[in-house]
Symmetry: none
Subunit: 295 residues, 2 copies
DNA sequence: CATCCTGTGAAACATTTGTTGCAATACGCG
DNA sequence: CGCGTATTGCAACAAATGTTTCACAGGATG
């Protein structure tokens, strides 16, 4: 256990002052950390050869309000560890009076973990597979509606800098779907959709499939309706402590896909980017200082 | 998840036969596996937005004797997973040297770290400050062009679900800027811009400032031109191992801002979201299965 | 239209949980 | 030995858990 663990340290530090029974309980906890999170206090006490009350007393002895605090602590530790998340101690010591003051911190930690989880071997394999498919396509149609628009658009935008192979299936006046008109079996549809799934995204994906396109899906669950009709699926978490779903992991996925595709053809990508740079330069799109006002 | 997981597979396999409520429960379990082991059934049900009884019913549906079987299974999985963690970490170190194929892994690790860095005290303080300012505004104008469009739009989209205070400064036919016409000192401009900075973003921000608006900026550097004209600045890294900049941290920031603002007024937010849900439901925007084709 | 059926929410249920008060015990010290 | 203190076990407690039951709503079927 690499991470700093305040509670664990406290137990060790005060171990000598404890009564024999408390020591027995404490010893068992130290040696079976994860059990604390996984079983009830009574069962833990049973396994430790100790009375249930002793666990409560141990908690009080450690200046905690009750056994629940012990469990909460080790639960959190286990959560983080199972996340495969590089140990980052959560110091909850100073809970500010403000409601939701720790929210930002929690959200960011959680996002960081969710993205880290994407770098597990299985997810990586899926990313590679998807990049393969997208890389071979004659044209890549990108579809993401409502909340997923941001991801779809960003993917399209980046790919635009690398060439003109991508088509964004969106547009004013509901003409988005028209883009599929000339699509065929050599093409690929990249669809991003999370629960609740926009009907139109599902319909268009099904249509694309019928037209013979391959389908790559970025979605949120193994039971997403997109799974059935997709050749490659990338799953990303959307859980958030807020009222809404997060799209940050999905965006990360789309950026990785762009990165992988660009890496397949370094030469071409560089040349394309130079062309894009030049194009944008002649249009005076960018600046580094606040421009004086043209009146 | 490398290991075979019979129960998980069974859930996925029989998902289609489930009733909507069962599906919702099953979906949550699939996406939050570890929570099953760590919290009580009732709490799990609460988080999944489902009645406690539904969890029991799900267990029965899966031919188990009760919910306890589900928990036992995922507990065991988590136990194994946590045990295997040390080994896996060592594996990960070994993989580092690989070229090309490690790109995805590197990118994700790096993104994870960048976001984690945002939860440092100073960044958190800035986030709180920005949320304060945005929360007090009569109206929030959101501006993000080119690559930053995705972030701006996502912020606007989420805030739309919470009310009608935000105005997205973008639109077809170059009319985006017109939105500022009626803006005044009680309003706030949220501008997202990273290097290279779009001229128009800078111009509009300067204009907003002249009209008396407060300015909150999400940008990438302490020497960003936006710093000079902003009341609150949130810095986020855009470094990436690819040819392009990453916007994932910026998106994370925007989601945190949304989260903070929603948390200030839980009541109002919940009510607004319910209204939005109802609105979208009556429009039949969403579905959970691929719709049969309307011919 | 009546009828069945399935899916759902709410309430009641027995059980288990974590906690606490109290008596029994062990132990140190004069 | 006697006494006081600290530790322990036990039993009772309220709160929660997981389960079951029942009634109702909505859709299909005859």
């Amino acid at each position: 256990m690499l991470q700093q663990d305040a509670l664990r340290d406290r137990i060790v530090a005060r171990f000598d002052e404890m009564s024999p029974q408390l020591q027995q309980a404490a010893r068992y906890i130290l040696e079976n950390t994860q059990e604390v999170a996984l079983v009830s206090m009574r069962e833990l006490a049973r396994n430790a050869g100790v009375q249930p009350a002793t666990m409560t007393r141990l908690a009080k002895f450690l200046d905690l309000s009750g056994y629940e605090d012990i469990r909460a602590h080790f639960s959190e530790a286990l959560r983080l560890r199972a996340d495969g998340f590089a140990a980052r101690a959560r110091e909850r010591e100073g809970e500010q009076g403000q409601a939701g003051s720790g929210l930002a911190h929690d959200m960011l930690q959680s996002l960081s973990a969710q993205i880290a989880r994407l770098s597990e071997p299985e997810a990586l394999a899926r990313l590679e597979g998807a990049a393969d498919l997208l890389g071979q396509a004659r044209r890549v149609y990108v579809l993401g509606l409502r909340s997923c628009h941001s991801v779809a658009w960003h993917f399209h935008y980046v790919m635009t800098l690398l060439g003109d192979r991508t088509v964004h299936l969106d547009g004013p006046a509901g003409t988005g779907a028209d883009g599929l008109l000339w699509a065929g079996p050599e093409d690929v549809l990249l669809v991003i959709s999370i629960s609740p799934y926009a009907v139109q995204s599902l319909e268009l994906s099904a249509l694309a499939r019928e037209k013979g396109l391959s389908v790559v899906a970025i979605t949120d669950s193994e039971v997403s309706p997109l799974i059935a009709i997709s050749d490659q699926v990338i799953l990303c978490s959307t859980e958030s402590r807020t009222f809404f779903h997060t799209l940050t992991p999905a965006l990360a996925v789309s950026e990785v896909l762009c990165g992988l595709m660009a890496a397949r053809d370094r030469e071409g990508s560089l040349k394309a980017l130079q062309a894009a740079d030049q194009h944008l330069a002649t249009l005076d799109i960018y600046a580094n200082t606040i421009p004086r006002r043209r009146i």
